[in-house]
Amino acid sequence: MTDISTAQIGPVARSAEPEFRDFVLLLKPRVMSLVVFTALAGMVAAPVPVHPAVALASLICIAVGAGASGALNMWWDADIDARMRRTRARPVPSGLVAPGEALGLGLGLSLISVLMLSVFANPLAAGLLAFTIFFYVVVYTMWLKRATPQNIVIGGAAGAFPPVIAWAAVTGEVSTASVLMFAVIFIWTPPHFWSLALFRNDDYARVGVPMMPVVVGETSTRRQIWLYSLLLAPVAVAPAFTVAGGPVCLAVSLLANAAFLRGAWRVSRRTQALALADNYRAEKRLFGVSIIYLFALFAAFILDAALAVVVGPIGWPVWF
């Protein structure tokens, strides 16, 4: 410890000495937990046995890579984060961590996570992780986010990659099942995020981020939420008929789609006046349902894999 007496130090600015916890917050731990969960599902569902050490190490690399891109996102977006209610308490805008430290941590962890995944698993998985970090930071954060209302549609691809990376880490290839897992998250992202954007519209409008409700209005956004939900339904059922799926996947996807479509239909039929009157109740509900939806779908992959271990092969049809 350096020799600094208390008499020499006045009140310390938080940015002067961030705690370890502040750096953890920089990695967006809530997003990381979703990434770890979808990656775990992709790994467990892969029809190839994997040593627990390699599985854990690969999952950690994927999680750290996701955290690194979160840190780089916070570094780049600090100016708009500071002006939005939802993000103003993040480590960089609140002064907990200096921008340079966020950049350094993000770049360092990106490099380490990609290199280590290459060592622990294989170069294909590492390459996919590197591409995901690049896509989220450069394509989404630096380019699309402030340029087009389709930002979340295209940028959503970054969040859809973790199960593909995990599958590749175990099998050494990209297959139909992992591509369908990607497609589920990719098509799920717009209705999930736009339902949030509907009741956080003022935040995005204030900072000039062209989210769909800001640019095309609430009515058009509600219609698009419904259309994406319709498109999502068959895509979410399809993985049940791959090597990764099974009866649990089919049952869960049917139930989850029914709940999601019901919520999306309600949101699509409402007017702004009605939403304002009950403080966006249906939109907030759809946002909550969408989180449970994704969790349930990927939990079903894990349950089907567990079922296969317990009862053995059941002759489930594999169409894709």
């Binding site: 208390t6 310390v12 854990l56």
Partner: protein, 46 residues
Amino acid sequence: MREDHELHRRRRSRNLGVLVVLLAFVALIFWVTIAKMGIHARNPWY
């Protein structure tokens, strides 16, 4: 005797955090190395 300042507490938290992460990293590499050596011993062409 000097009292512990807020700055020292934060720095200690960071140092301990980094220590734990580094030790976990070393343990993980050791475990994966043992696992891969085992896999290789069972299948030298892997």
